[in-house]
Amino acid sequence: MKVWVAAHRYAARQALARYARRLLAASFESAVLGLAAALPLAFLVAVNNIADFAARHPATPEISIYLALDATPAEVKDVAERLRRIEGAEVRFISRTEASKLLRRSAALADVLDALPSNPLPDAFTLRLAIADTHRLDAFRREIAAWPRVDRTHVDSAWAQKLEALVHAGRLAAACLGALLGLGMLAVTFNTIRLQMLQRRDEIEVSRLIGATEAFIRRPYLYFGALQGFFGAAVALALVAALDAIASQELAALSESYGIILELQPLPVGTSGGVLAAGAALGLAAAWFCAARAARARGLRI
């Protein structure tokens, strides 16, 4: 155990020293990795904010409520009263005559309506609620559907659903982009480590000759890879935070002139931690592949 800890401490110090010794080049590599990682991250932040904005400013989906054709004015009034009592509701009444007028704007439909013996359109209400959650909205709709004289109800949430689909697609795109760029980062780190092993082939060779295990040889490179991935991720997070700050300022100006609250949500702390961990894991994996390849090609043709 003690030996193990000492070995790891030594490897970590080696990796840090190597990083420090070529600080400029290493920082540049981290910056490149960070730039690449910032792209999907910024995209993710944007998508998250759109989703968030949509949730806070719902497209106020409407519930359309159609009454029975033979509902009396008193009954209509009764429903109207009940609707108006709902908190935060915005109720609009569309009488059957009004509806018929609206339809008559289209000549073809006007002909159809004329051909009918009576107005086929019922009295209707539209109810706007500040509820974005489609499930809750639907539950609400079902409740209203059970009221007396209510014939049919319908939630018009196509807009919200479209947005939801869009956000879903956006997140998927961010994930794909992330995976693609992750692969690229893997390749970049792999190459960095490969060059390092090439530069240190003498050290690797002599270490093997005097009894180093492959694990001992590999370890400093693993630490280095993890370190570089971690710093890359940190650069990416910093870049995204900077973009976020700039965009927030712009939005603040916009908010003032429009009198609405527009606020950018930064990446959640958990996600940021995950990004750092993923960066380190990616670097570690790249170093591992590289070291495994080098070990296979024993004669130091790495």
């Binding site: 003690k2 030996v3 193990w4 000492a6 070995a7 401490r9 030594y10 003498d202 050290e203 060779e205 002599v206 270490s207 093997r208 000759l209 005097i210 009894g211 180093a212 295990t213 001992f216």
Partner: protein, 220 residues
């Protein structure tokens, strides 16, 4: 301790370097292998440490057949040896201290004990005051002694020294021969490969001459 059983060695596409030689080196022995350049002295030492494997026959260290050894076990075998390489194999981007500390780190010595052990090894070869220097700042003789310090720092049971006095003037060569002799007196099994008559003559010990791919024992 080291046993060669009808060992033949032929490098791919090369001539036969060893032709079915048998050899036994006991614990605590001091053996000098002589022979002209290209006779196969380095090959013989490399076979002992499992750096090369025999084409036929087998080499055993402490009863273990190196040809049958699992690759994972090889590093642990190597730690029983101290190796002084003909071409030094020093790390020129590390200090003298770090060069000597390398075997200790590889074996996994407690970090707190490393400076003391390194200093002791450097003291034995007279390089204690150079521990912060880079190896490149050392003379040829000092680099040779640094190699010996690195080879003995982890107190190996066997020291294999390949041309430890190559390119040294006679005074230095004699000093190194004395150092190896004193290590042997302290209990280390020492095998020296050299084509330097001055060294082999100075060491009153078992001598093996390599000629025409065969071993010839010569009395001390």
């Amino acid at each position: 301790m080291i046993r060669f059983d009808r060992v033949g060695k032929r490098y791919p596409g090369g001539i036969e370097v060893l032709a079915r030689v048998s050899l036994e080196i006991a614990r605590g022995e001091l053996v000098v292998v002589t022979g002209p350049s290209g006779a196969g002295k380095s090959t013989l030492l490399n076979l002992m440490a499992g750096i090369e494997l025999p084409t036929v026959g087998h080499v055993a260290v402490n009863g273990e057949n190196l040809s049958r050894m699992r690759p994972r076990a090889l590093p642990y075998l190597r730690r029983q040896f101290g190796l002084v390489f003909q071409d030094h194999k020093l790390l020129y981007d590390r200090s003298v201290f770090d060069n000597v500390a390398l075997p200790l780190r590889i074996v996994g010595f407690d970090a707190a004990t490393i400076p003391g052990r390194v200093s002791a090894a450097l003291d034995k070869v007279g390089l204690l005051d150079r521990s912060r220097s880079p190896p490149i700042a050392l003379s040829g003789g000092e680099q040779q002694r640094l190699c010996i310090a690195r080879a003995i720092v982890h107190r190996p049971a066997i020291l294999l020294a390949d041309e430890p006095t190559a390119n040294l003037d006679p005074d230095y060569a004699a000093a190194i021969a004395d150092l190896l002799l004193s290590l042997n007196r302290a209990g280390v099994t020492v095998v020296i490969a050299t084509h330097d008559r001055a060294v082999s003559d100075r060491l009153p010990t078992r001598r093996i001459e390599l000629r025409a791919a065969r071993l010839h024992e010569a009395a001390a």
